[in-house]
């Protein structure tokens, strides 16, 4: 069964600094990969996803992620963060060959805290 590891539970960073949130998944022949963001008192919102093709994926709010099959990673990056990026970020996978309806397997989440 698939699993997702987000090693950093909390990441504090200063405004305008770059950030990388790490995500590793368990090995599989093929995966779909997602990053979701959750702002306080709101639902999960899709930031970006990788299904196939180019390994560098660009999402909303200036975020991007790179799929690295050999390292089974899908790290999320932003070159310059804003106060408004303070939120919890979840990495998730689904198995396109598993016969499911796209059920998502989530990591534990990383709380990004952007300080002025």
């Amino acid at each position: 069964a698939q699993s997702v590891t987000q090693l950093d539970s909390q990441v504090p960073v200063f405004e305008e600094a770059p950030v990388e949130l790490r995500c590793n998944y368990s090995s599989s022949v093929s995966v779909y990969l997602f990053w979701y963001v959750q702002y306080p008192n709101q639902g999960l919102q899709l930031l970006l996803k990788y299904l196939s093709g180019s390994t560098l994926v660009k999402g909303i709010n200036g975020f991007e992620a790179e799929f690295n099959k050999s390292q089974t990673s899908f790290h999320l990056r932003k070159p310059s963060v804003h106060i408004s990026d303070t939120a919890e970020y979840f990495c998730a996978v689904s198995d396109p060959d598993g016969g499911s309806q796209g059920n998502l397997i989530f990591g534990k989440g990383t709380k990004l805290s952007v300080k002025p």
Partner: protein
């Protein structure tokens, strides 16, 4: 912009009581999901629902749980006899037809269930 809504936002119940958590998915969506997140833990898949039947369920989704789409708009999760360990945030999600297993799931804001 269409969104998934969930009611109530917070439900407090006594152990052994039945609870029904309600969700209104986006109107043209056909795939529905429930996930939960116990405080400090991962978001976990519970069940997926399509064409008026359960598509897949996790080990968590035992006989105490049931889902229903009683009309054309609501999607409910019932817990028959709540336990302390059912305390969690419960998220509903929906996905549009024709988007495949990599399609975006739209999440509601969640219902926080507290079992005392």
């Amino acid at each position: 912009e269409p969104e998934v809504t969930q009611t109530p936002s917070h439900q407090v119940t006594q152990m052994g009581q039945e609870v029904i958590l309600r969700c209104v998915p986006i109107s043209n969506h056909l795939y529905f999901y429930w996930y939960r997140q116990i405080l400090g833990q991962k978001v976990e898949f519970l069940v997926s629902f399509y064409n008026n039947e359960i598509s897949e369920k996790s080990e968590i989704f035992d006989d105490q749980f049931s889902v229903e789409r009683p009309d054309g708009s609501n999607f409910t999760l019932k817990i028959r006899s709540t336990k302390l360990e059912d305390s969690a945030m419960y998220f509903c999600a929906s996905r549009a037809p024709g988007t495949g297993e990599g399609g975006e799931q739209y999440f509601g804001p969640g219902t926080r269930l507290t079992v005392t």
